[in-house]
């Protein structure tokens, strides 16, 4: 399964090659190799021409590994950039397995992006699942181990939805081609495929895996994860299911649901995880509405989101690395000791809130305007509400309680943060600002044709954003005592998933095992008992004929005992004799029947 092509170096190749050779490289110098696959990917994505590359034969099908067009290119571009930033951020990690799994994961994401058919997509989808599960497990603590297992089980089931859908589609349509499905003609298998995509996109109510697992990932692993799984799902939804109405509604629900939970969460990375749900909601809604502007908005938002979400996770990752926790009730008063972390974090926080000057402003507003122009007023309002909530929770609450809130904390022990983490964050921040100032940097790659270009930098847009954000800030100021986080677990849908898991074990597996244990003894009672009786019968017949003088019952009992011993030691003569008797009987029966 090697992707050969006329001139297209599939980014996955680089990552998988690195993953394969990394275990065998000695010493310390191998760390610089980590930057090679991302750079190769960036080069490849920027220079390739759209087209179809890399057809291979597997399992009797022709797989298309390299479908290159504007849509896949823009996603691949941001994936490549993010993979570089992520690798720089992870340079300090000595654990090779983390890097290998990150490569498997990122390579899988590229594979999904360029997949031209559903079978290829499925294969790389599973690779991503495996890679990301390990990124959680490699945090190597009690919570992450269990969280990783739940994550893996959940994603396996999600993958099964996809598999069922694509197989049923193959049976009905005869091909695995992965193209847009007409929303008015969706069949059961299309819904199944979409369901599989929605699991990875964390659509409510299938989302609970995200806040359950992402906070438990490694410091550097979560940075990768926040970018790739959900955005790959957004990409495939965009390609296959734009215009599906239910996505528009589900997306808006996600927007609001995510921020509501983020307002009450305590763990900083969990707040960010709920935010992913919220922000992806913008994208899913945009896909559902289906006009060119909303879809471009979804793409632009995905691009920007990868950058600023990555930066957010990097910032909180630094907090985790330095202070050992991301629980807001245990942090606070650290701004003077981690000033640059705070600044770089705020760049991302302002981006995600849609503050002018940063890239969130140019992407989020496009989606909302698109929704309004498509006359989906309620959806647009929902998105604006979510914008308020976003600023409240991620833009103000998180940094406030992480860095300020308490008097200067000089006693908490902080591990020094390695330089590469700062460099990576700076790269992310620079891109956020650059795109905010020069939106065309992003806009020129947008795949869908719009009638009129969207201009974010108008006076009204800026004013509206500032008004919205400014007064949300005022709301925070007023409620800053109420919103203080406490160490609590908030129940979410994963309560039900766990119930199902335990239920299956208790209601199905254990009873079945009990029945099996009873049945396995039945052979002794029924089988052996029956055999014994039969054998006893023949011997009785035999001995009665030979010697009627000896006490019949004692003889019989003795022979039963002997036979019992014979059977116990498994001698075969008895079986053969019995078999001959049976064969005779059946022979007669057959002769009669035939």
């Amino acid at each position: 399964m090697i992707a050969t092509a006329s001139g297209f170096v599939h980014p996955t190749l680089g990552f998988y090659a690195l993953a394969l050779i990394l275990p065998f490289l000695p010493g310390k110098g191998w760390k610089w190799l980590l930057l090679v696959p991302p750079l190769v990917a960036i080069w490849s994505v920027m220079t390739i021409e759209p087209g179809l590359y890399g057809q291979v034969s597997y399992l009797g099908q022709t797989l298309l590994l390299g479908r290159v067009d504007k849509l896949s290119l823009i996603f691949a571009q941001v994936f490549a950039v993010m993979s570089l930033i992520g690798m720089v951020y992870a340079l300090h990690v000595d654990d090779k397995l983390q890097h290998i799994m990150a490569c498997v994961y990122v390579g899988g994401a590229f594979g999904c992006t360029f997949a031209g058919d559903l079978l290829t997509l499925f294969i790389f989808w599973e690779f991503m699942s495996i890679g990301s599960t390990f990124l959680i497990w490699l945090a190597r603590n009690e919570r992450s181990t269990k969280a990783g297992f739940r994550y893996f089980l959940y994603h396996t089931i999600g993958g099964l939805f996809l598999l069922v859908g694509l197989l049923m589609r193959y049976k009905a349509v005869g091909s695995f081609a992965f193209d847009h499905v007409d929303p008015s003609q969706m069949m059961l298998y299309d819904w199944m495929i979409m369901l599989g995509f929605c699991v990875n996109a964390a659509v409510v109510p299938l989302h609970a895996w995200l806040p359950d697992a992402y906070p438990e990932g490694t410091v550097t692993g979560s940075v990768f994860m926040c970018a790739f799984t959900t955005k790959t799902a957004v990409y495939v939804l965009l390609r296959g299911f734009h215009g599906v109405e239910v996505l528009a509604i589900a997306g808006t629900v996600m927007c609001v649901y995510g921020v509501l939970y983020a307002c009450i969460e305590n763990n900083a990375r969990r707040i960010l995880s709920y935010h992913i749900v919220s922000q992806v909601g913008y994208m899913v809604a945009g896909i559902g509405i289906g006009t060119a502007m909303t879809m471009n908005g979804a793409v632009a938002h995905a691009y920007a989101h990868i950058l600023y979400k990555g930066l957010l996770f990097m910032g909180t990752g630094c907090l985790l690395y330095a202070a050992g926790t991301t629980k807001l009730d245990q942090l606070g008063g650290l701004v003077h000791r981690l000033p640059w972390v705070m600044v770089l974090y705020m760049v991302a926080a302002l981006s995600i809130s849609g503050m002018p000057l940063f890239n969130g402003f140019i992407s989020k507003t496009m989606t909302i305007t698109g929704a309004a122009e498509a006359h989906r007023t309620w959806l647009a309002i929902g998105m604006e509400v979510a914008a308020v909530g976003t600023f409240l929770s991620v833009g103000i609450k998180l940094p406030y309680f992480a860095f300020w809130a308490k008097p200067a904390n000089n006693t908490m022990e902080l591990k020094p943060i390695p330089a590469n983490m700062y460099v990576a964050m700076a790269m992310g921040a620079a891109l956020c600002i650059a795109q905010g100032l020069y939106p065309d940097m992003l806009y020129r790659y947008l795949p869908f044709e719009m009638e009129e270009m969207y201009h974010p930098w108008t006076t009204w847009h800026v004013l509206q954003a500032l008004l919205l954000l400014g007064f949300s800030g005022l709301a925070f100021y007023i409620t800053r005592d109420i919103i203080t986080p406490h160490a609590k677990t908030n129940l979410d849908f994963d309560f039900f998933y766990r119930l199902i898991g335990r239920g299956v074990l208790a209601l199905v597996s254990k009873p079945l095992a009990w029945i099996d244990d009873r049945w396995t003894e039945a052979y002794r009672v029924v089988g052996l008992g029956g055999l014994l009786t039969l054998a006893r019968g023949t011997v009785w017949f035999d001995t009665k004929g030979i010697d009627t003088v000896v006490d019949g019952s004692a003889y019989t009992v003795q022979n039963v005992g002997v036979l019992g011993a014979k059977v116990q030691s498994g001698r075969l003569q008895d079986y053969l004799g019995l078999a001959a008797a049976l064969a005779l009987g059946i022979f007669a029966l057959v002769w009669y029947l035939a």
């Binding site: 009690e142 919570r143 269990k146 739940r150 921020v259 509501l260 307002c263 009450i264 701004v335 003077h336 000791r337 000033p339 640059w340 705070m342 305007t369 309004a372 122009e373 007023t377 647009a380 309002i381 604006e384 509400v385 308020v388 909530g389 409240l392 300020w404 200067a408 006076t459 009204w460 004013l463 509206q464 500032l466 008004l467 919205l468 954000l469 400014g470 007064f471 949300s472 800030g473 005022l474 709301a475 925070f476 100021y477 007023i478 409620t479 109420i482 919103i483 160490a487 609590k488 677990t489 908030n490 129940l491 979410d492 766990r498 898991g501 335990r502």
Partner: protein, 86 residues
């Protein structure tokens, strides 16, 4: 502690000043909203000055109060709720 850190501490000591600046800024924005308005209302109420200010403020307040005071008490459990079970 770095130079930057000291700067931030200096700022921290002057929260009242920053708060006053903040309120002045907000007032300025509302005034600006009287003059700068969208050409066409995306929603019905866009046209009115101060709409977005009110939206942001009320929305934010509602969100925090409803979630923290009403919803969270219903759905929150001890920090180690799941660790004991699954």
């Amino acid at each position: 502690m770095s130079l930057f850190g000291m700067l931030l501490n200096w700022l921290r000591a002057r929260t009242r000043v920053i708060a006053v600046l903040f309120f002045l800024g907000l007032a300025g924005l509302v005034v600006a909203n009287v003059f700068v308005r969208p050409h066409e209302a995306e929603y019905v109420f866009d046209i009115y000055p101060g709409f977005w200010a009110v939206f942001g403020l009320i929305g934010g307040l509602a969100m925090v109060i409803i979630m923290k005071k009403i919803v969270q008490p219903m759905i929150s459990r001890g920090d180690d709720y799941y660790d004991r079970n699954s």
